[in-house]
Symmetry: C2
Subunit: 490 residues, 2 copies
């Protein structure tokens, strides 16, 4: 085998080639972020349009990197929904800040797997320190212990798994849940407006959909504590076993906040694990003016907050806090011989606290972001988003053609257009079409929900590149498309 | 508020600052990869050494990026275990190739969340296409359907969840597993040498540790099919309900391969879901000379293979294939109103096929890597690792001072040093100390396992930067430290 042949059959891309294309990629990304407003937020394509451009078979031999790089523009970009676009105001937007992207580069280059302390001490110790920093920033109780997972769905699954493990008399770890005559039906409580991740946790953990008791909400979409108390009593009278109450601060549809103090009181009186889902809105706990929503958080047994949602952190990074890391460990730890190390008793091996053994070096992102923006810089940005959300709300409220469908505690606005003599399915269809036409312009991306059977358009302000002018443009566009539809219904 | 004050309180890092530090970061990474052999594989530090250098409190105001960047060298690097080092031969090494790192940069910059097709059509369609490519590369059955998860633990959890859902008469999705007199004890079968992720799946899904029936292995650490058949019969006679058999191709300790054909025959005859855990060694299915280990794969109901282990893909990227995506969807899909889209019936919404709603644009990594190296380039590299593993094996076998403790089907070698008149705990301690002293040099990182009560050192060749010279150096170092220990036991 010649030296040339050998060099092709072993080893990585030559470092100097990596350097060359790395610089090109940085310029590409910088230009992408600089000019992102010129791109359509939402691509105008149909299912299959991207796939049909891609070869059905993998290449036999390697290709030039320059060709692959060119294909990013030609084949991939046309099908990208631009989450970093300042007019992406759908779902819970997640935007990547510059420091966050730079940290991801480093995470990829180190490529460590932080399963135990030894496999990357810096990862284990930076994770611990960053979650202490974040705890201080968010004014959370001193006795919260944190771990980074990938997504809120996984964090919430761990919360409910903790709740299941918390009641040691159930012997779930050892005996499981099937084939047991002695195990009562386990129940989890969450509001009708709780996130689908609660349901997914119940499915995963074997509680089943019938294992969830959905609690009615008030006219502001907040769980009614009295209904929760009734539900628990009802279940107890049936011989069921309540294990977990989930309170949500910032539900997905309207960002309503369940009354935490009262819910905590009920959960506590019945010795039920209290989990707080603050995946999106939890970051606002850093603002004194939002403290009211988090009053009672000291009673929570666990909590999830996602920096990858509203803390400018590239996806994925979800933070799970619990007062009972021992329960989490008891639910998940399993140490086979090949994973034992000398430091098992003197350092945190995060693999013991969750389902995942493989763990990326995610804390670098928090380190870069918290240091670059500072506590005040982060607070300023979130405060500005709330100001913009309220500004948009005031326009909706002042308009004769629109109505607001829910309170706006943070920066997510639920509203709909009005149409003379129109109601029920007709006005729902009108609003669905209005939203679709707005999204088709490529200048704004909104999503929707349904509130009391009413189709509601949802606008969220949480992107790091979103400024006052973008919210103004959004409102102008919404009005423009509305007027066009009213004047020319076809 | 002045313009300056305002610019600090809103928006991202200025694009030109991102560009400047992006270029610096690329040079840093290129130099890191170029000079990685000069760094110690394993840092010589104690628990707490990194943490004690980090401030206990977050900064109030933002810091200069140049300062944060400098601290990567000063505070983080000293505590990094270098997984990309060519002499990282511990665990199942995972190395990041240049094209993989470049793809991660793009993933971070796009920062899409591919929960539904609409939130990034390119992600959904590239994922589908890449998993079809990988299926072809690995010679897997045409009717395998794929999805990307983060880690093998999560893939395997989904496999067992599928198995639980497959038996619709159990009504797990709806009714769950607790409080049911009609539900028999569910059982999963795996070899004694199966990975801890099987146990974690059982814990998570509520099967409990008693829900797993561990099957004895033969003298080559392969599941004994007759023992599996007996175990199933025994469980059936007790009224248990067998739901899943896990066969492993490449167990963690020795990379032994369970006899798939025979296991498949047993599972099939009893209508039990067959999952194949090929997280590490599955990539070798691309080599015709390794086909024997994968014979019978067409009978598998599901399979996991991790490109982030031995396909030069930055962590994390685990691939799950199943013949029954409908079962997977039935186990996990839940579509709340706010996630409904017009394309729900014409495109794949990957969120329906797993616990995680948040999904990074991971397929970009596979696209870059498969195209850059080509099918042949990937095969050449893996073949070379197997050659090097066999070369090391031949040295161990030829040495009077060492013995091999397991067959070497791929490129992982289990061996130990011999010492005159020494056995039992004494020789175990000798080998533990030998390994620790080797690791302390910083020139090589090996891990261990226990085989039939024997402490076994483990050496794996799977890093993209590992060449013949590194394996030779490893063997020389092992012999050198051994000789020093023998000649000067203190």
């Amino acid at each position: 085998m010649s030296a040339l042949e050998e060099s092709k059959s072993i080893g990585d891309m030559p470092v100097e080639e990596f350097r060359e294309f790395g610089h090109k990629m940085i310029d590409w990304i910088a230009d992408y972020l600089k000019d992102i407003e010129e791109l359509p937020v939402l691509p105008d394509i149909k299912p299959g349009d991207i796939k049909s451009q891609l070869p059905e078979n993998p290449p036999e031999t390697g290709e030039e990197f320059s060709k692959i790089f060119r294909d990013v523009d030609d084949l991939i970009l046309p099908g990208v929904t631009h989450w970093n676009h300042p007019n992406f105001m759908a779902y819970f937007n997640s935007t990547a800040s510059g420091p966050g992207i730079l940290a991801e580069m480093l995470t990829a280059a180190f490529n460590i797997n932080g399963m135990v302390w030894k496999t990357c001490p810096s990862s284990a110790e930076l994770e611990e320190t960053m979650l202490n920093w974040l705890k201080q920033i968010l004014n959370l109780p001193e006795n919260f212990w944190g771990i980074i997972y990938d997504t809120a769905s996984v964090s919430t699954m761990h919360a409910v798994a903790c709740a299941r493990e918390y009641y040691q008399d159930l012997e779930i770890r050892k005996r499981g849940m099937s084939g047991r005559n002695d195990l009562q039906r386990l129940r989890v409580y969450a509001s009708e407006h709780a996130h689908s991740s609660i349901d997914k946790a119940a499915l995963t953990l074997g509680l089943g959909l019938e294992g969830i008791h959905k609690i009615e909400v008030d006219d502001q979409f907040r769980m009614i504590p009295e209904k929760l108390a009734e539900a628990i009593e009802e279940d107890l009278s049936k011989g069921y076993y309540p294990i977990c109450v989930v309170a949500t601060i910032g539900t997905t549809s309207t960002t309503s906040a369940d009354p935490l103090e009262k819910i905590a009181e009920i959960a506590k009186s019945k010795n039920i694990w209290l989990h707080v889902d603050a995946a999106h809105s939890g970051v606002t706990a850093m603002l004194p003016e939002m403290a009211e929503y988090f009053s009672g958080i000291e009673h929570a047994d666990s909590m999830v907050v996602n920096p990858h949602k509203w803390l400018f952190t590239p996806i994925d990074l979800s933070v799970f806090y619990t007062k009972h890391p021992d329960v989490l460990k008891s639910a998940f730890s399993l140490v086979h011989e090949y994973l034992k190390t000398a430091e098992d008793n003197s350092a945190i091996n995060y693999m013991d606290y969750g389902i995942q053994l493989g763990r990326r070096f995610r804390s670098l992102k928090l380190w870069f972001i918290i240091r670059y923006f500072g506590k005040n810089g982060l607070a300023d940005r979130i405060r500005e988003h709330i100001r913009l959300g309220n500004m948009f709300t005031s326009w909706v409220d002042a308009s004769e053609n629109f109505e607001r469908l829910a309170p706006v505690p943070f920066s997510t606005v639920c509203f709909r257009a009005l149409k003379e003599d129109s109601s029920g399915e007709e006005i729902n269809n009108f609003n669905q079409n209005l939203m679709d036409e707005i999204n088709k312009t490529g200048k704004l991306f909104l999503s929707h929900t349904k509130l009391n059977e009413k189709f509601s358009i949802r606008l969220v302000v949480s992107g790091i590149r979103t400024e006052e002018r973008h919210v103004k443009e959004a409102w102008n566009l919404i009005q423009k498309v509305y007027n066009e539809k009213i004047n020319d219904p076809n």
